[in-house]
């Protein structure tokens, strides 16, 4: 007899979402998590007394509003706060501030270039428009283009209709996203490097592409299509850290009767007669279930917790070839006070935004060149945020914490694996760069956590520490994610599903992958669907 209707491996936000919707449909579900805390990469951790780090993901914009509301996450304690503009720091010391207020943003841009100030309106309008089409696909299951099933044909036609309805001219412009580099794309709008640079970060975050790499303009689009509760393009923070999202979903799950077991690493997915039948934990426990859902990335699922013999031929190789590249690092810093930055007006508004130490397009690209060569740049791209500036729950009074996301950081160094010493050198590089723009910064440091892709893989379980569970390139998007033929959440072994960011629509704290997978599972079980449709806002 099965102990559970479904076991979900991995208590990341997608696993929890998946479990919540299955539990909501009346299934007896269990989420098993290897760590002693839940959340995967959406966590809040007190690594130094008094400071709570969102030590992996640190901002949020992809969370599907309809899921947020349907799971009643606010009642379960989630509060998303939009964050204010970002300050960009150029190599030569210039700064550019972005503001939510269009008038303020325009004035600031005009200080640099009137042309670029005007162009910013155009690019924002264009990006919002283009992102509408993709947004509509987020909470839908991708069609299988090789299938003749009515549902697949229907979905294919839906996609075709959505794209074709852009109209001739727009369609041509749209195709350009998939081939232009972020730099080429931005060149068409802007004339000054600092404005281009301020936009380019979104084209490379989390990905093993450079600003000069064809296709990186799509990543840019991926990063602007999010919203904070319907405000498209906005970015937000979760009060209490990103773990608040996971905790709220977990609380929703528990309210539907679901179970979570932490400290329970899965050793193997058990397969009997070609059907997934349960999981074996590393402590020897065997748990049986009718359905097994993996929230791990595709590489890890098929090459680490499954036997090659249990898989149909070719799947292991597909998983081994799955592009999941570690390209980012993270440095979390506890500060004894609010740092002051050069050439930035001292006002609370600015302090409540992010800090992008981007330098220039070339600086960013050279950092990518270093990554290709298995090293890190001594002048990396850093995206910093100081969440404590508007969330008093994450640092002691008067003190602060700063999240720094670093692009790029290789999964392995050319001269061998990461060591503690090299990791500390990497951390030193990051604070040296920040010190350049904020003299005295180092004196404020109370505690610091440096995470290379290696640490992220070891702790969170993301292969190579890839934050998206797989590159967001065309060969791994939509019906190609994670591999062709398996994009509808069902995996090659019967009764087994995937619900992580390795599936459509990909990375980001969106809960969409988990919800989509739940819808497919319930369909297979012939249970009523509990997953809501997306709210799409056409502007």
């Amino acid at each position: 007899m099965s102990q559970y209707d479904a076991i979900i491996i991995g208590a990341g936000h997608n696993g929890l979402t998946n479990a919540a919707y299955l539990a909501k449909a009346g299934l007896n579900v269990l989420v098993v998590e290897k760590n002693d805390y839940i959340g995967g990469a959406a966590v809040s951790r007190e690594l130094h007394e008094g400071w709570v780090y969102s030590n992996c993901s640190y901002v949020c914009s992809m969370m599907r509003q309809s899921l947020h509301r349907d799971l009643d996450l606010s009642r379960h304690g989630l509060m998303l706060v939009p964050y204010l503009g970002t300050v960009n720091f150029a190599d030569n010391g210039d700064t550019l501030l972005s503001y939510h207020s269009e008038a303020a943003a325009y004035n600031e841009l005009k200080r640099i270039s009137r042309h670029d100030a005007d162009a910013m309106f155009r690019i924002q309008t264009d990006l919002t428009r283009y992102s509408q089409v993709i947004r509509k696909t987020l909470l839908r299951t991708p069609p299988d283009p090789t299938s003749f099933k009515p549902r697949d044909i229907h979905e294919l036609l839906f996609l075709a209709k959505e794209f074709w309805s852009l109209g001739e001219k727009e369609l041509y412009e749209y195709i350009r996203f998939f081939t232009l580099s972020a730099a080429d794309f931005l060149d068409e709008y802007f004339e000054t490097d600092i404005v281009k640079t301020s936009m380019a970060g979104a084209g490379i975050i989390g990905t093993a592409l450079g600003v000069y790499s064809p296709g990186s303009s799509y990543i840019l689009l991926h990063h602007v299509m999010g919203d904070v509760d319907g405000s498209i393009g906005a970015w937000g923070l979760a009060r209490g850290g990103m773990g608040a999202i996971s905790n709220a979903i977990a609380s929703a799950l528990q309210s539907y009767g679901g179970e979570i077991r932490t400290n329970a690493p899965v050793e193997r997915i058990l397969v009997k007669d070609g059907k997934a039948s349960g999981v074996a934990l590393s402590n020897g426990d065997v748990l049986n279930a009718d359905i097994i859902v993996s929230n791990l990335d595709a590489r890890r699922t098929f090459t680490q917790i499954m036997e090659k013999e249990d898989l149909p031929p070719g799947i292991y190789e597909k998983a081994a070839n799955y592009k999941i590249r570690g390209s980012s690092g993270k440095v979390n810093i506890a500060l004894s006070g609010l740092p002051k930055f050069n050439n930035v007006p001292d006002n609370p508004y600015v302090n409540r935004g992010g800090q992008a130490f981007s330098g220039s397009l070339e600086t960013m690209e050279r950092a990518y060149d270093c990554w290709k060569r298995g090293t890190w740049s001594d002048d990396p791209f850093i995206e910093g945020v100081i969440p404590s500036a508007w969330d008093p729950t994450v640092a002691p009074p008067g003190m602060h914490w700063m999240s720094n996301f670093i692009q790029y950081c290789p999964p392995e160094l050319a001269d061998g694996p990461w060591t503690e010493e090299k990791r500390d050198q990497f951390g030193q590089t990051v604070i040296d760069k920040i010190e350049r723009y904020s003299p005295g910064f180092k004196d404020l440091i109370v505690h610091m956590e440096v995470r290379t892709p290696w640490e992220i893989e070891q702790e969170v379980g993301l292969t190579e520490g890839n934050i998206f569970q797989g590159e967001l390139t065309i060969d791994q998007l939509l019906f190609n994610r994670p591999f062709p033929g398996y994009a509808q959440y069902r995996m090659p072994v019967k009764n087994m599903y995937m619900c992580g960011s390795s599936t459509h629509p990909g990375g980001g704290v969106s809960s969409a992958c988990g919800a989509n997978a739940a819808r497919e599972i319930l369909m297979d079980l012939r249970r009523p669907n509990t997953v809501p449709e997306d709210d799409c806002y056409d502007e």
Partner: protein
Amino acid sequence: MAVNHYDTIVIGAGHNGLVCASYLARNGKRVLVLEAADVCGGLAATHEFHPGFNACVAQYASHLPRRIVEDLKLADYGYQPGRLDLIGLSPGATPLRLSDANLNGAASADLEAYRDYHRLVDKLAQMFQPFWQKTVPPIGNNSLPEILAFAQLGFKIRTLGKEDMQEFFRIIALPMYDLLDEYVSSPLLKAMLSWDGLIGTKQAPRSPNNSVLHLLYRLQGSADVCVNVPGLVNALSGAAEAAGVEIRTGAPVARIQIEATPGQTSDVTQLAATGVVLENGEQITASQVISNADPKTTFLTLAGAEYLDIEFTNRIARYRDRGMVSKLHLALDGLPAFSGVENPDGRLLLAPDVETIEWAYDNAKYGELPEQPVMELMVPSLHNTELAPAGQHVLSANIMYTPFEVRDGGWTETSRAALLESALTVLEAYAPSIRSQVLGAQLLTPQDLENTYRVSGGHWHHGDFALDQLIMMRPTHGAAQYTTPISGLMLCGAGTHPAGDLTGLPGFNAAREALK
């Protein structure tokens, strides 16, 4: 009607212009081809770069489809198909020789992997073949031709079978680096197989989205290689003249004459091309002007932005056509001896692995010269003995990646000398005695190509081979079906579908549209 009136004027006697003109003349049109240079061929023209030594400017092998060869009876004018192997060299390693489906010199695991790779890639190349030879209608307006074209493509993709179809959708966007990583293990073989997806365009091994399509395009005509390009150009101009085409060399066009005529269906005036004005002031009228020049030259220099709407002009202005290939010609006092290569009669690739290619690209993207250039080369005098004095040879190399504009100072004597020196150093690693054989050298940078051959950006393919500049978007929508916003003005160069290389297909397709 004036005596000086033609049905069609073709601007530029490049190979596409000649193909287009021949088809038109064979259909009864009175055609004049105007060529700025003193000889035909455009970038495929041959010139003397050192006393007694001749070389072709940019190209040294053609891939004309059999159909064009037969239609124009090129064999009667001296065209001879040949064979061109790809020989990959790596210091200290056995050279690999790739001759279509046959691979020699590789380890057995790679042989097997190559067979799988070749099967898939060849099948996909076959699938695309018909689309290079037809005009692809514009998209997004649900016209009947559009629906038919996409239905045909959809059907073709369906007939691949489920597995290959899935692979098609996945690999079509892969960077060469990833694609080959999945198949072969030999670094040299990876470099060799990636090369044809990269050559001539702004793509590095790690660049996604465009190179596989480029590779499929390059593979389509592999059965009909001609390695004697001077012979090809002679055959094309011979066939054109035999068909009644009038060719005037040394006749650079200054501008295309455009007149406003009252609209046929409305009051709005329409613009129509009525002829050309030569640089010497001579005016020649024609009912139709077909430009074999690249899109930027055609629209912005020859026609003029004042005749185009602003959006179209912007699209042409942003068209990416900055070449990254320099050409090196060496006059040698004997056959160069490449270590391990008995007979250097193929295309020799001096790029030991994809990383070296990537690093060369990395230099160029910042406008720097490659520290270690990668290049493919040929000894064309092995295939055409007239190119060099008896016993002596011509070496012709394409050096990737060289920036169009060298940062901090541009192309100067110093930067040219530096590139020549690093190229010779690379050559020396493979052919140790080559320096002592050199009698003369000519280096043509992308900027030289632009200045000498009137090709914007000095780009081989008249524009990057990139998704947004291909098929129904080449060079840009509004001009991608060979017609342009100006009535009577058409395009037939490599800046139109299907694109560059010596295929004759843009000229072939344009002629069909011009005759409609």
